[in-house]
């Protein structure tokens, strides 16, 4: 399922069942403190919502967790490894083999068909074309968009494109799915359907999901939430029922 990259194998549950953890994360852009403290741990199969006002640092947090942006301070540990201790090549190999990504506007490659788009992570991880497309086709079917598999992204609706993007994120059987406003471009009915399909698939494959959203009805598909305010991320799971 993983370790197709050059990353040394490690026991993913070495840290008492923790898959991904943040420790004292800080990130400043120029003089803007985008992230000012994040400490939490995510287990396999957990769906964690990241909420908070616009500009509070949610995307920055997600980018740090996924190893896309290096934090100024603090550590991100994934499967027992510290991301900053890896080389750039190792980090991108890890992202390809273990992580899946869904962004607000899908970010599909316009020149490729929906099927080729969904198969892309598998192809990049070295799976042969036929096998990669067969697997991708199953995910397109699961996301209820197999009828547009030969269309290009420009020829499908926003909602269909978003489902293709979710299929693409899941096709590589990632251990962690990072989703930044995955339903931002959809109406509430379609958005919820995508969330339902995404969380169902994640629970089945025991993938963890980090879900940035400002919509509470979307966050309600998660197991718990982290709220970011002025760059400070707080785990809210202990809050409910505290009164």
């Amino acid at each position: 399922m993983m370790s197709t990259g050059t990353v040394p194998a490690a026991d993913p549950t070495a840290d008492t069942g923790v898959l991904l953890s943040a420790n004292g994360l800080r990130k400043t852009y120029g003089t803007t403190p985008a992230l000012d403290g994040a400490d939490f741990a995510i287990r396999p199969g957990e769906i964690v919502a990241v909420m908070g006002p616009s500009g509070s640092g949610k995307s920055t947090l997600l980018h740090c967790l996924a190893g896309i942006v290096p934090p100024d301070e603090g550590q991100v540990r994934y499967a027992g490894r510290e991301l900053s201790a890896l080389s750039d090549a190792e980090r991108s190999a890890l992202r390809r083999s273990d992580f899946g990504f869904v962004f607000q506007f899908g970010q599909l490659v316009p020149e490729l068909t929906c099927l080729e788009n969904a198969a892309l992570p598998l192809r990049l991880a070295g799976t042969r074309r036929k096998e990669a497309e067969a697997q991708a086709a199953r995910w397109l079917e699961r996301l209820e968009v197999d009828d547009v598999r030969h269309h290009r992204p420009g020829q499908v609706s926003g909602g269909q494109g978003q489902r293709v993007a979710v299929a693409r994120a899941l096709a590589g059987m990632p251990r962690v799915v990072f989703a930044d406003e995955p339903t931002g471009a959809l109406d509430s009915h379609n958005g919820e359907r995508v969330m339902q399909l995404l969380t169902e698939a994640a629970r089945e494959t025991q993938a963890a999901v980090v879900l940035v959203t400002h919509e509470s009805r979307v966050a309600a598909y998660s197991d718990r939430e982290i709220v970011v305010r002025d760059g400070r991320a707080r785990d809210m799971s202990a809050m409910a029922g505290a009164v």
Binding site: E215, R217, A219, A220, Y221, D223, V227, S237, A240
Partner: protein, 174 residues
């Protein structure tokens, strides 16, 4: 909700015994709060007195559940009127949440913490309803969605209040 109108409306689909009325009501509208038998019988005797239902037959045995009720023409008119009258939208101006927040600020307590705890509690319930919705049929989905949209509105208010907390604290203490 007007339980008597709901029961009356069910009777318009055909005569029923008291226990049958309760069962049908619970299945269709009861959700978390099934009716007590007592509620059904007190409602039925009131509707009887007002001429909106009549007793069509009584099975042998004891107790009011043996009565079979039928709706009268006056009852049908009453259902028609109820359905045709829009519900008064509830503006929730006397929100408990708002009162609690202002009192917390007035007494020098932590308003942000109060909002956080409430927010988490709202999301907890929203998760539960979402789970019920994904496992349920269309009726469950619509019922849960109605609750979810209201909770969402509350949550948005909680966010708005959190964003303006400092200013609110100044105003209520002035």
């Amino acid at each position: 909700m007007s339980i008597s109108h709901a029961l009356l409306g069910l009777l318009e689909t055909g005569p029923r015994h008291g226990y049958d009325l309760k069962r049908t009501f619970d299945a269709k509208f009861g959700q978390d709060r099934p009716l007590h038998y007592g509620q059904v019988y007190s409602t039925m005797s009131r509707l009887l007195k007002n001429g909106l239902v009549e007793v069509e037959g009584i099975e042998p045995g004891e107790g009011p559940e043996r009565k079979r009720y039928a709706i009268t023409d006056a009852g049908i008119t009453d259902v028609q009127q109820w359905l045709a009258t829009p519900e008064k939208p509830e503006p929730y101006l006397q929100s408990t949440l708002y009162t609690k927040l202002v009192l917390a600020l007035l007494t020098g307590r932590d308003g942000a913490a109060l909002l956080d705890v409430q927010r988490a509690e709202h999301l907890r319930l929203m998760r539960e309803l979402t789970r019920r919705k994904t496992e349920g049929d269309l009726a469950d989905q619509l019922i849960c969605d109605h609750a979810l949209f209201h909770l969402e509105a509350d949550l948005r208010w909680l966010e708005t209040a959190a964003a303006r907390l400092d200013k609110l604290a100044q105003e209520v203490r002035a």
